[in-house]
Amino acid sequence: MVSSAFPSAAAEHGEHPPYLLHHFQSVEQQADAANFAMWLFLLSEVMFFSGLFAAFLIYRNWYIPAFVAGAKQLNVGLGALNSGLLILSSFSLGMGVWSAETRRKSCLVLCLILTFVLGLGFLGIKSIEYAEKIEKHHFPGLHYSLSSFIDPSSDQAVSAAGERPLPLDMARHTELYFSLYFAMTGMHALHMIVGMGILAYMILRAWGGAYTSGHVTFVKNFALYWNLVDIVWIYLFALLYLVSRH
């Protein structure tokens, strides 16, 4: 075995940036490893959501009329607005990565705060939507009510659209639609909340100048995560809100 001295031995003489961890040989290797790890983690996140998507697609295929009726209860306007907010937040975070790379501290802090606010807006609108559903007893469980589906006259929105009542057997499956709606958007919202917790931490660190000294891995990796959450929402919006409307 031929040997050569570890570069980090030389590094002990102060020739390496302070954020280089002892077991890596170069900054590139460190950033590369973190980036690869993040992609693998995202892959595992994709598998996590894929269980839900599989369930949704199977049941939608089985109970199309119930799922169509359920989808028509959703507020497309708010959903579209939310999609817009999330896409904007991805953009602002992308700008954040750029400002971290170009070492503009205040610009980075601003971008992160903007992302945080947009995320907060998303969750706010989501909670308005949830409140609407709960008010109409469309939250699955003991208090679930079928009246919007078997008796359209009881629900202004439905009767205005001129919907026909569903047979009782099929109407009961709308609960499955709303179960999956709440499970999928709920899991997504949970990912948003976790992301915003990390964002808050990042804003504090960025304020102290942590990411504008050349070490941008954390910001970049977080942006990857945030974009995945964003993409999952795009799919949710298409599947839950749009596919069944026409």
């Binding site: 040997s3 570890f6 892959l43 179960s179």
Partner: protein, 556 residues
Amino acid sequence: MSTSTLVPPSEPIAPKIPEDNYLSRGYGLRSWLLTRDHKRIGILYLISLSVFFLIGGTLAGMIRLELLTPQSDLMSTDTYNKVFTMHGVIMIFLFLVPSVPATLGNFFIPMMIGARDLALPRINLLSWYLYIVGGVLVIYTMVAGGVDTGWTFTTPLSTHYVNTNVLSTCLAIFITGFSSIFTGLNVLVTVHKMRAPGMTWFRLPLFVWSLYAASIQMVLATPVVAIAIVLLALERTIGIGVFDPTKGGDPLLFQHLFWFYSHPAVYIMILPGMGVISEVISTFSRKRVFGYKAVAFSSVAIAVFGFFVWAHHMMIMGISNYAVLVFSLLTMLVAVPSAIKIFNWTFTLHKGAITFEAPMLYAFGFIGLFTIGGMSGVFLGSAGTDVHLTETFFIVAHFHFVMVGGMLMAFLAGIHFWWPKMTGRMYPERIAQVASIVTFIGFNLTFFPQFILGILGMPRRYASYPPEFQILNVFSTAGATVLGAGYLLSALYLLWSLKYGQVAADNPWQATGLEWQCQSPPLTGNFTEMPIMDHEAYDYAWLEGQNRNRRKVGHR
């Protein structure tokens, strides 16, 4: 020898444990609980795994004691249900899944590829803490009254019909799942990004290849069981109906999601064990592993095929005949890469200079028992015989042959093999050989009668059985006692050797891996100089050359 008269051989210096090693860097509790050294985390895992193995093993002993007599007399049937459930949950999620990857993998992957640590040391420590939180939750579940659904949490039993601690167990499995994802992720990143110069993919030890394959499954399959468990919990608490037929849901969906993880999990458990066997067989027959590339790729093939066979757990559960046919065929296919490994190990032995140290005896045990376990899997994979054999003791015997006869033997082989490197001391060889033989005999006596019981039709998961099955059950319980004694013996002499064992040299087995080029026990950063890999894996000629050079220099 005549040369010795010319050049006086240097006095064989008794090896001494080097004063600076990973164990001597800090002795306090803090230095362990906040460590980021992959070796210390490996040891933390080893200690905690052993505790859970002891609990799970005790539960197994209770099961065997209950089955000594046809009546349910030692415990009530409800208690029996809880005991076998906790046995399964602990052994699978807290012992088998993390066993080799989190202990030996953690400790040796960086050393084998010439790195100073795993790529993500903090994530590594986090994964241990998650494991501990999961484990504490499981213990809480046991104290709070246990859970009795079986480790498979079959719906609608687990959602509608039991009133035991399903939720805390679910949470525990969810959390240990993330610990497992992080371990797998760390291995993948480390193997991709941290290899020393010259350490090409086909110079990696086969242990690394098999852990790599298992890690792919950890990262991709575990999240699916996580979401299945989340849905199960929502079903149980709110009643969302996804698995509830009265609301249009389908309990089979839970089975699909659950087995989509839990079948790959079988390979998560066995693949690392196969890696250990490759190392041990090569070292103690002093030959390069026959068909290195075939063995390496068969690991990856098992990982890939492993994703497409899950429904063979559901052949009697009402999936379509067409699906049964397809999954039966795919199940047969996964036997091929496993067989490639067995044949290649056997060919490695052919004309090798075989010695019979304890790790090698365990490896022989593995080859025999895993072959029986695997072949009985073919019975279960055939759609016809499966209908008769599934849900009987045949299946219990089958997966214990693979998991205990295979994986646990491999784990013990690995622990013995690397014990000198981990602790700096040798285990007592003769007693270890005896223990390995006791374990082998005890194992066969325990589980072979269960094959017969299964064929005769004794169902699994019942506390009582018709009296004509008693004689075989008595054999099985007697065997379990012998098996337990074997494990206890290993535990005792291994602990003894920590203090009194003979001090180990750096490379007591004359093995070729880079880890054996380090001192025993290794330094915190593993290597003092960056290693450069300039030879193939398992190159014993290279090792001879190294030794000759050292003798020329005149010391060590």
